[in-house]
């Protein structure tokens, strides 16, 4: 199964969840997603998703200057983002429950 295709539909929720846990900059979010097991997630997909969620008003953003190199842009979740995350969490649980049930039945049969 092409997990990158599966990931597309749920990347928003995954990114929101990671940022809700703790503020993070672009690659930091990528790293945490990968550490959580989404090893195939693309850097640019995550960065783009962060920008889109920010534009949509789900995230806050602030820049932290860096001594060693270029500055870093951190993202944090806000109330709207949390509401969105809650919705998506419920939707995912329903969907995954349905699909799990479906696949389990088929596998058993």
């Amino acid at each position: 199964m092409d997990t990158t295709q599966l990931l597309k539909g749920v990347l928003d929720a995954a990114v929101l969840a990671v940022v809700a846990d703790e503020d993070g900059y672009g690659y930091d979010v990528v790293r945490r997603l990968r550490a959580a097991g989404l090893v195939e997630v693309g850097d640019a997909s995550v960065y783009g998703t962060l920008r889109r969620l920010y534009s949509g008003g789900m995230l806050t953003s602030y820049v932290v200057p860096s001594d060693e190199g270029p500055h870093r842009k951190y993202y944090g979740i806000n109330a709207q983002g949390r509401a969105m995350l809650d919705t998506q969490r419920k939707e995912w649980q329903e969907f995954s429950g349905t699909l799990t049930g479906l696949l389990t039945t088929e596998g058993a049969a």
Partner: protein
């Protein structure tokens, strides 16, 4: 080149190049969008690379970059994929439309125009095929080919004239610019254009299109230019000048001069009330002063031509514009007389008028006297003119053979049949004005006296 660099600077350098490459693939977005998408990109890339030790082996090995960093750059691309793909992913994840630069093959604007041109071009050609396949067309092309050098000269001339007109805004059209350096430029342009046409100079590919564009523009300019030149031929030959309306006015003046006999031999009220008036030696007359046979100045004299049309010195805009009088600083607005039926009369001389500060604009098409102001007379050129030797009865007596001797009765409203005449100013052609007016000095035409009065009420439709 072999430069000692720390691994960090090399990585950053490569990362910057890669980031710049990504930005280049987002160039169709607004700068703000690009900034928003790629802000902090270098930091993220650098850190991602640092997370994968070994990906930059050539740099890490000795701190030396043997080939200017190309190997390291390759590693950056190997880690993140081609910049174009990276940019496309960034763009689509951010919810932006995938644009022309992307993984798909690029046709480019030029390619598309080419394809479009091919589609239209072939359709256009087949449309004209019935014409272009004839031997006559071939003959025409052969003929046109002979004229090409003339066209090369003409297009240079047109381009220079347009540029000259643009920069100098000359009052009159100049076939050959007055300024010397513009003449020089004309010569240079002709040489360039001819050499260009002979394909001796300027043979770059891009200029092929430019040449077509210049040709099209030159045709678009040259045709109207020739048309206007043809219509303004009079003025053109009299010193190569024409201006908007000038040539027409000049032609009209010439006609007036030819037809004129006496002071107001040729006055006209044209259908739209413009382009007419009274002229003496080519200059327009604003006011007329009338003296009787004994040389006395007359006031409030109505003047008509042989067809019963009011002779108006002021027509069209003339009734609303300020005139300048000799030795009088203010502008002067002429005012009409009023007939008993309440209509303005502009053929009553000498016309009275008012200076600037005694009139107001009340929204009508001409200024009206301020409250309490009365139109004033202008000083006459002579208090007394020379007496005439004509029999004293000739000039002033009412026409003996007309009923009622109506000439002395200024205005009588009963003249029902006349409006038809009065409304037909274009009526009999110009010869009708010229011939009878030539007769005027000889005999104070008895037939003229009576119609004058009747027309004075009847010609109202054109006398507003």
């Amino acid at each position: 080149m072999s430069t000692t660099l720390t691994p960090e600077t090399v990585v950053l350098d490569q990362v910057r190049r890669y980031a710049a490459d990504v930005r280049a693939h987002l160039a169709d977005l607004s700068p703000e969008q690009v900034d928003d998408l790629t802000d902090g990109l270098e930091a993220d890339l650098a850190e991602a690379l640092a997370d994968m030790p070994g990906s930059l082996r050539p740099v890490a090995a000795g701190g030396q970059v043997p080939d200017g960093g190309a190997t390291a750059l390759l590693d950056v691309a190997a880690r993140f994929g081609p910049a174009a793909v990276y940019a496309a992913e960034l763009r689509s994840a951010a919810g932006l439309d995938p644009a022309a630069p992307g993984p798909r093959p690029r046709i480019g604007l030029r390619g598309r125009l080419f394809v479009l041109g091919g589609i239209f071009g072939s359709g256009w050609k087949s449309l004209w095929a019935p014409v272009t396949s004839t031997p006559q067309w071939a003959a025409f092309l052969e003929f046109a080919a002979v004229l090409r050098p003339a066209w090369w000269v003409l297009r240079a001339w047109v381009v220079v004239l347009v540029a000259y007109g643009w920069f100098h805004r000359p009052q009159n059209f100049e076939l050959v610019p007055q300024a010397t350096y513009w003449r020089l430029l004309l010569v240079v342009a002709v040489v360039v254009s001819v050499q260009w046409g002979r394909e001796r100079w300027l043979r770059w590919r891009g200029l092929h299109l430019l040449r077509k564009a210049v040709d099209v523009v030159a045709v678009l300019v040259a045709v109207p230019l020739f048309v206007s030149a043809a219509f303004g031929a009079n003025a053109e030959l009299n010193g190569l000048r024409t201006s908007s309306g000038g040539s027409y006015q000049q032609g009209y003046d010439d006609g007036v001069r030819d037809a004129r006999s006496g002071i107001f031999g040729a006055s006209g009220v044209s259908a739209d009330g413009t382009g007419s008036g009274v002229y003496v030696d080519g200059s327009q007359v604003s006011n007329l002063f009338v003296y009787d046979a004994s040389g006395r100045a007359l006031q409030d004299v109505q003047i008509f031509d042989d067809q019963g049309r009011p002779v108006r010195t002021l027509t069209g805009e003339g009734v609303a514009q300020a005139w300048s009088l000799p030795d009088f600083e203010q502008g002067w607005y002429f005012q009409p007389s009023l007939s008993t039926d309440g209509r303005d009369r502009w053929n009553v001389y000498p016309l009275r008028g008012l200076p600037d500060d005694a009139v107001e604009w009340d929204g009508s098409d001409r200024p009206v006297p301020l409250e309490g102001e009365q139109p004033r007379s202008m000083p006459a050129p002579f208090l007394q003119a020379q007496s005439l030797l004509v029999p004293s009865t000739g000039g002033t007596a009412p026409a003996p053979d007309q009923p009622g001797g109506a000439a002395t009765t200024p205005v009588t409203p009963e003249a029902p049949q006349v409006p038809a005449d009065g409304e037909d100013p274009a009526g009999p052609p110009a010869e009708g004005t010229a011939a009878p007016s030539a007769r005027v000095p000889g005999t104070p035409s008895p037939a003229a006296a009576s119609p004058v009065v009747e027309v004075s009420t009847g010609a109202a439709p054109s006398g507003d």
